[in-house]
């Protein structure tokens, strides 16, 4: 839809449905006069991208439901090309997703409200807290009570769902509507597919990036002249900052913020950031399990070094008080964005939130990079350390996607409606907005890295190049650490969190003992789920 038309109609105080009817009429009139609706869309496309980035505007506070609805409405063009108005009248769909930090489903509701008004479909919502998500999904699968047609799901769960035939394969028109070729390379095959088939409308491209405080580093700054680029340097700086004062808040200065408390399994990604640099060898995609045996690698010398690094910082007293009770959410939103600590690994939404969230005080003093490297890497094949610098950014969680379940496969109208809703949420333009504003999602398309668009939206060019560059560099890194999409992956993470918590609390004699306890627990889980099937799925997920 042309932005001018949108503004004119909303200015005339028309309701949304009539406005959309008006849009359709204008399209039809255009067709009669030689101007097709498609060309009108195409003509307005770049304007839509620019205009949605003004909602509510960078620095204008956190977006509200009205903003999400407005964005959803302005991005309806591709839906209107494939779906007639009112085509899904009477169709009811159930959508299961998250309610983290009032994002995810809260945004989807707003984005899909105009879609519902246009198509006539009705969506019922199942909202879940992040920590409840895994259990709810697993119980639904195991008890045969999948009660949702559309699901927001992380790629790691594909083993549990696609692997059991619970998902509907994506129709070709959806691939065209969402412009699937625009996805960054690592989200294409094999990570973007399961057994060669597409199921996921990608709405997020996860990787952990390194965020740091620019006022801590530089000539004369308390953290030293250079930003640490290896984990060895990160630890050295963190120790050196003990006893110094934070230049922004005046409170005690701190270095790297490791979350020391579990987070329903998600805490495992954070120790993995350190470990990836030590153990993800460029010669092999495997870094968590040995692919032929599923023997855990978590107690090899590389992983042990990562755990030891954290224990060293605990021993030195380098963390803020009560860090043992800080989960990843705390480190990002209560600590780093609120001005405590100078270095953090997190998903990219910390970058967009730094500038646009009401709770952030570090928007002007934050810089980004890729996961720090290690000065040496452990080669698990030769069982020896190699004294070479190793970078391995972690594609933590791979990204959220919208999936359609097999519940709708037998009903063509419902199936089309479900895929249309999914495609709307994964649309090319809408995703630009979710990349730029607090949404829980980060850039994941090549088109998201057009820095001019961000600059025009009000972002500082240097900031956005830095922030987006760290994402692009991570996605395109040849030695990216990609986790296995195997069933029960969060069981492995959850039990590791428990053992790490004991290790960090000093209940194990050493990092090695902690790692051995994790390995033993992982072996038990593999045996319980079934070693042979896990090996097969692990290899498949790594494309081996």
């Amino acid at each position: 839809m042309k932005v001018g038309l949108y503004n004119a109609v909303t200015g005339a105080m028309m309701n949304r449905r009539r406005m959309l009817q008006g849009a359709a009429s204008v399209g039809a009139l255009g067709a009669m006069g030689g101007l097709t609706a498609n060309s009108a869309q195409a003509g307005g496309h770049s304007n839509v991208r620019a205009e949605i980035l003004k909602i509510p505007g960078v620095g204008m506070g956190s977006p509200t439901d009205a903003d999400w609805q407005k964005v959803g409405e302005m991005c309806l063009g591709p839906t209107m090309e494939n779906v007639a108005e009112g085509e899904f009248e009477g169709v009811e769909l159930t959508f299961m997703g998250l309610n983290n930090q009032n994002l995810h489903n809260f945004l989807f509701r707003g984005f899909l409200k105009p879609w519902e008004a246009y198509t006539g479909a009705k969506i019922n919502w199942i909202d879940l807290a992040q920590a409840d998500y895994n259990a709810r999904l697993q119980q639904s699968i195991a008890t045969g009570t999948v009660d949702f047609d559309i699901i927001e799901m992380g790629a790691p769960f594909e083993g549990d769902t696609a692997g059991r035939g619970l998902l509907d394969e994506m129709p070709d028109w959806v691939k065209t509507q969402i412009d699937a070729d625009d996805l960054v390379g690592y989200l294409q095959e094999p990570v973007g597919t399961w057994d060669g088939k597409s199921y996921r409308v990608t709405i997020d491209g996860d990787c952990h990036t390194f965020a740091y405080r620019t006022d801590y580093f530089g000539e004369g700054a308390i953290g030293g002249a250079e930003v640490p680029s290896t984990w060895q340097e990160v630890n050295a700086v963190s120790k050196a900052l003990i006893g110094q004062e934070d230049p922004l808040t005046g409170l005690p200065a701190h270095g790297y913020l490791d979350p020391l408390k579990g987070w329903g399994g998600f805490g495992m990604y954070f120790i993995s950031n350190r470990a990836a640099a030590y153990v993800k060898h460029p010669d092999s995609p495997a870094w968590l399990f040995e692919p032929d045996t599923m023997k855990p690698m978590v107690n090899n010398p590389g992983w042990v070094q990562a755990i030891q690094d954290v224990m060293d910082l605990i021993e030195a007293g380098a963390y803020p008080a009560d860090q043992i009770n800080a989960d990843p959410g705390t480190t990002a939103f209560s600590q780093f964005l609120a001005g405590t600590g100078s270095m953090l690994m997190w998903w990219g939404d910390v970058g967009s939130s730094a500038r646009t969230s009401d709770g952030s005080v570090v928007g002007d003093v934050v810089g980004f990079g890729i996961n720090p490297a290690s000065e040496r890497v452990y080669n698990s094949v030769t069982a020896s350390w190699e004294e070479t610098r190793n970078e391995a950014p972690q594609m933590a969680y791979i990204g959220w996607g919208i999936y359609v379940t097999a519940r709708v496969s037998g009903d063509e109208q419902k199936r089309k409606a479900a895929w249309s809703a999914a495609a709307h949420l994964g649309g090319k333009d809408l995703s630009l907005w979710t990349s730029a504003y607090p949404s829980g999602f980060q850039p994941y398309r090549n088109s998201h890295f057009q820095y001019d668009e961000w600059e025009e939206a009000g972002y500082d060019r240097a900031f956005v190049e830095d922030y987006l560059g760290s994402n692009a560099d991570s996605y395109n890194h040849p030695n990216a650490a990609i986790e296995p999409r195997i069933p029960g992956i969060f069981q492995y993470y959850s039990v590791a969190e428990d053992e790490l918590a004991k290790g960090f609390a000093g209940q194990y004699a050493s990092a090695q003992e902690t790692a051995d306890a994790i390995a033993a627990a992982w072996e038990a889980i593999t045996d319980q789920i079934g070693r042979d099937s896990q090996i097969a799925l692990y290899k498949a997920s790594l494309g081996m």
Partner: protein, 368 residues
């Protein structure tokens, strides 16, 4: 009307004929046969041995309801007025059986199974393996040890509750206001307490309690970093919520003590300390024991504050059995083992509470 039988308690002595008795038995056994047949067919259908098109277990439920109605009817048919009397209890008993006993039996089946929701092979009976796993599980024993500490914390809670109840029973100013004010924590959900106190007021950087601690010279106040302090803070938050419960029970007991007794003690020369120990406290013993037993039951369920504030940390120092089971079941989808832990915990609770109630009964028995 029969001139024999229990004429004292029976209003209408029915003349139950042998035919009516036979009908009563036929009704019960006929309904039972239908129930058994439907359940058997459904079981075979569920196992895939036959295909009757059942999509859920509702037919068995209907057969059970039919049998329950038949059982109630048969009581009247076969026993007359005695049967009518049993109808006052029987429906409730059947409801309890269906809602508690059946799930317990199914739960036992799951408890002795290897059932990980992520496993493609589903549930498998594994005998005593889960018990062996529990025996060697340091997380479970650690949580059980923590529970001992949490339960022991009830003694100081009781002392505080008693003190507050005495205060509120005395002639103090604004007594009604304080009674309501002291009750307010009990009205709060433990989840709200976790967030308001554990995650907000005790937040290290911005929390008002942390700020106050810094004002009084504590540089780095930390409330959940050492095992002992973290455990104490969990106990304190839980106590803050539930002390009012014990307080209100004790207060009710205090108000029920006849004034003549305390006045007589005063006349006999007992001071307030002696009057308390020799008169008030012994009279309050039944109420106190009841309050403590109920509080123990509440305490054994402690989980919400722990899950929200510490997730059992640091290093399991605050873990309770319930919060550990919650993690095992929810985060790891380990349904079989999680259920076994819950069953074992239930057995421990039943045994411990039975012993406690026996002891309490012995303490409260009159000695003179």
């Amino acid at each position: 009307m029969s001139g024999q039988g229990d004429l004292l308690h029976v209003v209408t002595a029915d003349n139950i004929t042998p035919a009516r008795l036979r009908l009563s038995k036929a009704v019960v056994w006929g309904a039972a046969a239908i129930l058994a047949l439907v359940a058997l067919l459904q079981a075979l259908n569920a196992n895939g041995q036959i295909d009757l098109g059942f999509t859920n277990w509702r037919p068995t439920l209907y057969a059970f309801i039919l049998w329950s109605v038949a059982l109630c009817w048969a009581q009247v048919l076969g026993k007359g007025e005695y049967g009518k009397r049993s109808l006052f209890v029987l429906p409730a008993a059947l409801f309890v059986v269906s809602m508690v006993v059946f799930p317990l039996i199914f739960g036992l089946g799951i408890a002795f199974s290897d059932w990980n929701l992520a496993s493609p092979t589903g549930r498998k009976f594994n005998g005593l393996d889960n018990i062996r796993q529990m025996w060697g599980d340091p997380f479970f024993w650690n949580a059980l040890k923590n529970m001992v500490w949490y339960v022991l914390a009830i003694l100081p809670e009781y002392a505080i509750a008693f003190g507050l109840a005495l205060l509120l029973n005395a002639q103090i100013r604004a007594r009604k206001f304080f009674r309501v004010a002291f009750l307010m924590p009990l009205m709060l959900s433990p989840v709200a307490v976790s967030w308001m106190i554990g995650k907000s007021m005790l937040e290290v950087r911005f929390g008002p309690i942390s700020r106050l601690a810094r004002e009084v010279g504590i540089d780095n106040p930390a409330f959940f970093s050492s095992p002992e302090i973290a455990r104490f803070m969990i106990m304190a938050m839980d106590a803050w919520t539930y002390i009012p419960f014990m307080m209100i029970m004790i207060l009710a007991g205090l108000q029920a003590i006849p004034k003549e007794l305390t006045e007589a003690a005063k006349v006999d020369g007992a001071g307030s300390w002696r009057g308390f120990w020799e008169v008030t406290f012994p009279l309050m013993l039944p109420v106190s024991i009841t309050a403590i037993l109920i509080r123990i039951i509440f305490k054994l369920k402690l989980a919400d504050i722990i899950i929200n504030v510490t997730s059992g940390g640091p290093g399991g120092a605050t873990d309770s059995v319930t919060s550990f089971i919650f993690r095992e079941y929810r985060d790891r989808s380990n349904v079989g083992y999680g259920t076994l832990l819950a069953m074992v915990y239930l057995v421990i609770i039943v045994i411990a509470m039975t012993i406690l109630m026996k002891l309490a009964d012995r303490w409260m028995r009159p000695k003179f």
